[in-house]
């Protein structure tokens, strides 16, 4: 019989010109309506709120998938968090794409701030480069839905001392020249789009405005095939998952987790519920109570023939 499934640790020989990407993802509380749980004091109950992949990480995964569709290669999902975050990596594999998953997980990593997280992730990237394969691109999403910091990507990149391009909304790679060309969004008093060129390996932080493009029919076909494959893999995610703890990563406990974090959260306060400023008239649409609302709206109605 043809032997079992591929193993996450297998080190494929990379054909020339193909791109190896790592996508950094993070688990966050599910903020969709109805999923968030609060205690009596109005504090978020993280334990009761389901964890999902940071919605903005989807754009980083899309950029990695686009790179694989166009140039071939390999996409690895990487995350730091408790063992349960394997589900976040599984979700990334299922909803967008990953060839395999790496979870950096250790009790010592608990309560890491962005700086300690960045140190840990960069150690994961370095170990990956030493033991698995050289990496051409690291992708990260912009901001997470819980911390909203937007700092982890740039700080991880600082530790690698790679070039970085942030707020990327479109991406082209030239594998022969070993360069990338990206459009990045610069928001400020005026909004601008910059075109930038950078050498590989490079760190890419995608903007939520990022859109993958598949102009060739062959690319669209490859995209479809890769999507089908990754969904199959995700169904047996454990077979593609590698876990590394702080000894695997050779990290000094003083530089990770709470000990390695310059910042602490001194207090978390529910955003106070302001006293009612307006006395809302309650209207039951099932009853015939809409008249006062319509009275407010009808003076602004479009003229006949508009």
């Amino acid at each position: 019989m043809i032997g079992g499934h591929r193993h996450a640790k297998s080190n494929h020989t990379v054909a020339e010109g193909t791109m190896r990407s790592i996508v950094l993802t993070k688990g966050v509380p599910d903020f969709s309506e109805g999923a968030v749980s609060f205690d009596e004091d109005g504090h978020l109950e993280r334990g009761k709120t389901p964890t999902v992949m940071n919605p903005n990480d989807e754009f980083a995964l899309q950029a990695a998938l686009q790179t694989k569709v166009r140039h071939g290669g390999h996409v690895t999902g990487m995350s730091m968090g408790p063992p349960g975050y394997a589900e976040v990596l599984q979700g990334a594999m299922e909803t967008v794409y990953a060839d395999d998953s790496y979870l950096l997980s250790d009790r010592e990593l608990a309560a890491s701030d962005t700086w300690a997280t960045a140190i840990t992730l960069s150690a994961g990237l370095e170990k990956y480069q030493e033991e698995i394969a050289n990496v051409d691109l690291v992708f990260a999403g912009f901001k997470t839905a819980d911390g909203e910091t937007g700092q982890t990507g740039p700080q991880t990149c600082w530790a690698m001392d790679w070039p970085i391009v942030t707020h990327v909304i479109a991406l082209d790679i030239d594998p022969d020249e070993r360069t990338l060309r990206a459009k990045r969004l610069v928001e400020g008093d005026i909004d601008e789009v910059e075109t930038v060129e950078a050498p590989l390996p490079c760190f890419v932080v995608t903007d939520p405005e990022f859109e993958p493009t598949y102009r060739k029919a062959s690319h669209r076909l490859t995209h479809k095939e890769l999507r089908a494959e990754t969904q199959q893999r995700a169904a047996n995610h454990d077979d593609y998952l590698t876990m590394w703890d702080h000894t695997d990563l050779n990290l000094d406990p003083d530089y990770i987790g709470l000990d390695g974090s310059p910042t602490i959260v001194s207090s978390v306060d529910p955003i106070p519920k302001a006293p009612s400023e307006r006395e809302a008239t309650m209207i039951d649409p099932a009853e015939d109570e809409m008249a006062p609302v319509l009275e407010e709206l009808q003076p602004h109605a479009a003229e006949a023939g508009d």
Binding site: D146, P154, V196, D254, T281, E296
Partner: protein
Amino acid sequence: MGDDCEGLAEECIAYGADVAVYHDDERLERFLHKPYTEIAAHMARGKGTVESTDWRDYDEPRYILFPATNNGRDLSAKVQAELDSGLASDCSDLFIEAEEVSNPVKTGEPGVKKTFEKVLHMKRPDFSGFEYSTILCLDNPGREFHPQGCSVIPGSFEPIERNPDRDGLVVEHDMDLEDDWFRVEITDHDRLEAGIDLTGHDVIVCLGRGIADDPTEGMELGLELVDAFDDAALGITRGIVTSSYQFEGHVESYSNEERQIGETGQVVAPDVYIAAGVSGAVQHKVGMDESDTIVAINTDPDARIRDFSDYFIEGDLFEVLPRLTEAVESGGLGLEPEAVADGGDE
């Protein structure tokens, strides 16, 4: 940092700075991560101003603030990493006071309390607008974390009134910039078309996460109501911008940040504001609570938005929006006089 930025340094004095340090280089005309980080960190270490060190009687800054813009946030993360310190991003309030801390990592011993003097308290909205966190950046017993840093949401503080006669010291910073720092090259830049302006309309229809059951249909229903008015526009909450809803192509363009209303979006004050499926986070409130009349449509009678609404229609927006559209269209044509026509008459 920039190309020909001495004038900006002088502006900083006029706006309240005592000392303004600047670095001019034609290669710095636009923001680049590596050289900007290297220069800012060099300045923070008190280097590069050999000839005029008498303006400071301390060596390194205790606090460092950045603007929470796209580039400012990136710079804050990189500079604080370079300086081996921490930061909080997107702060909306700051104050400095002593803080008694019992966290053993910071005090060095469990059960011992230690007072840190002059701590920058960095307050930031967290958890997608449900909570405020106060972040502190504190030294460990064996490792200093200075400067305490953060990025600040633009507009969070009132600027000091400009005084062009104010005295201050402008210092030029000196440092060799390595060619390798310019490995990322900006080859082109275009100004974007001015985005969508939601201000100045008579009516705003704003959609929130209540459209989750069918985001595309929700968007269509909102747009149909907009079209029924003479001068209306569609807005959305931050919850929609950050959602991963799959909108169909014809309405997708309405789901991005340029239509966001709230603290990090646009501030509007129309005659009538219709909030459909909007829960009413405090960040949303600041973007709309100057509206004349606020009509909320929500299935949850305890939704926060009730406290700042004039009318609260307790119902499903998928049913209520089409009814409003129909009523406005027919009312506008004058086909349905209804009882309300008498309401405003004496």
